[in-house]
Symmetry: C2
Subunit: 337 residues, 2 copies
DNA sequence: CGAATTAATGAAAACGTTTTCAAAATGTCA
DNA sequence: TGACATTTTGAAAACGTTTTCATTAATTCG
């Protein structure tokens, strides 16, 4: 690859001038500008991003870091895609990291990304109280949280109203006459699941029902297999639920399998409501009622926030809370027993 | 972040010595080694990858480039995850790029990745005859093709036997008595689709059936929506097919929707076989018969090939062809009319 | 017309590493 | 003991940029 030096030689100017042409061409004579531009053309010059990044202090590295639990979770693929599209428009590239919800890996990648001098890091924090990320922010690295919050920390954040999402799901089931409603959720260390569960409980309480701990199951959010087991336990309860709310797309999948295994019919024997409107949700039979969250759009907003912060490191932090929607399909129906 | 210089000062040695401790500690006195190690500990030293990459010629940048059509296609998420897992073990990070099957974007990202001095690039080429990628290989950049081949080029490649996959799908349908079998495929510019279609045609010919062009529909492989339209056209044919073979997971989804829309029952009214065994394939009703390809494993193998090539740039290129499998479920059944 | 701006350019330092080369200290051997 | 090999260390160059500072040429102004 051609370097500044070669271009300079080819155009008969100093590298300083060539550099100026790249950055602030206002300060260079139109004629030399011409000449340099041509030389760049002829040599097919591409600036070396590594050298650029080494030289410039910050905010010009053209690289973003992104740490997600698992790219195989389609919800995160959507977020990633949203981020990547915005980054592409800004001529940025994205380093993708999978943490597997493992704080060790999260820390590892955080270090890598810092040592890569990325301009900023976007992530759903594994622990809403985790101090590694908080320290990172203190150190001045631009950080945007997406999907999950970081508690008690001033940081740009894009989430949906998870509590409302949980509330909507349960309220819908209640309105159909269900009274024993189970939830497949996950550890409260994740702000999203904690909030969805809170919505679930609030809806029950608001309708004068009490919380039955037996109907609340916490699973590994990455594993539909684990969800399947938990769902099986629920279905085998002596007083089994008439409806189950699964709080993310993988758990929904596990739930669906468990229902199939037990030979139950949706929605006649049991109603099912999921979280995340995945492409397959309307291809399954019966099509699934779900709480929808706009993953792609969340990714876009997060990236936009990031670029705003890079442009102005001291601007006030903002919290964007997007609205969940409920998509009524056929996996939920009236309960009369 | 602490630098070599600071560590050197703190340990009372030169930066050369510290650098040696990092790389080839054999050549440094055990006592100084101790001292330097401690200094690194105390300052929490992390080498600056950017500086490392700028300095070292090649093969040490600890960065891999990855260009895929779209991370939202779950098949590619699996590949990406396989690659990332291997990279993680080697202390490598991955830059992820989405090309949208757009040669312009592919070219753009290829340039970016070169200018980032990545150690190698893994991708399914958009055009099996495309010259951009071929030139890249000529230039000495380590390249591994995954999922799709680059025709007439000596390059490390990991694919499945797509022709066999197509053949298996159709043979299965034939064995069930189907005679009018349609295929939802895509442009032959993609080696994978061209081969799957070839397998489809071969199977028909081997059973003395002739190819009916009306039953072959080429769609945009990224769009289940487009596949849905094409599937609708097929279903509305005066002599409609009794079975449809969809050659990737997104097209399968579109096909499923079209069947639903037309009020047809799978497999009684029509048999459906898909490509790619996605997590939802066994959660849908009825569970889907599919040709399975091991995406995650393909990603791993591709990454392994890449690291072998980085270690030894002149080793002979290898082509890995993995075996597709058929997963019999309930979306295909005997046809007797 | 001479002084003072302004415009256009380049030399050199810096970013944080690795690597080459040389120097100093130590050990070995006849 | 002296020549030579080995071990241990550091100074300085290099990677490809950006940026500071200085220099020269051209322009403006009183």
């Amino acid at each position: 690859m051609a370097t500044l030096k070669e271009v300079a030689k080819h155009a008969g100017v100093s590298i300083t001038t060539v550099s100026r042409v790249m950055n602030d061409s206002s300060k260079v004579n139109p004629e030399t500008l011409q000449r340099v531009r041509r030389a760049m053309q002829e040599l097919g010059y591409q600036p070396n991003r590594v050298a650029q990044r080494l030289r410039t202090t910050s905010g010009q590295s053209k690289l973003l870091g992104l740490i997600i639990p698992d790219i195989q979770n389609q919800f995160y693929s959507s977020i990633v895609r949203g981020i990547e599209d915005v980054a592409y428009d800004k001529n940025y590239a994205v380093i993708l990291c999978n943490s597997d919800e493992d704080p060790g890996k999260e820390k590892f990648y955080l270090d890598v990304l810092q040592s890569e001098s990325v301009d900023g890091i976007i992530l759903p924090p594994i622990h809403q109280h985790g101090k590694v990320v908080k320290e990172l922010i203190k150190s001045g690295m631009p950080v945007v949280c997406v999907d999950r919050k970081l508690s008690r920390e001033r940081v740009d954040t894009v989430v949906i109203n998870n509590e409302k999402g949980g509330y909507m799901a349960v309220e819908h089931l209640l309105s159909l006459g269900h009274r024993r409603i189970a939830i497949l959720t996950s550890s409260p260390q994740f702000s999203s699941f904690e909030e969805r569960q809170r919505g679930y409980e609030q809806a029950l309480r608001d309708h004068g029902l009490e919380i039955d701990e037996k109907l609340i199951r916490e699973g590994d959010p990455r594993s539909s297999e684990h969800a399947r087991q938990l769902a099986n336990e629920l279905l085998e309860l002596e007083r089994a639920p008439s409806a189950i709310f699964a709080t993310n797309n993988l758990m929904t999948l596990g739930l669906l399998e468990a229902v199939n295994e037990n030979g139950l019919q949706i929605p006649d024997d049991i109603s099912v409501i999921g979280f995340d409107d995945m492409p397959w949700a309307r291809a399954v039979t019966p099509p699934l009622t779900v709480i929808r969250q706009p993953g792609y759009e969340m990714g876009r907003r997060a990236a936009e926030l990031m670029f705003q912060r890079i442009a102005d490191p001291r601007r006030e932090q903002v919290q964007i809370m997007m609205e969940p929607g409920i998509v009524l399909r056929e996996s939920t129906s009236r309960w009369v027993k």
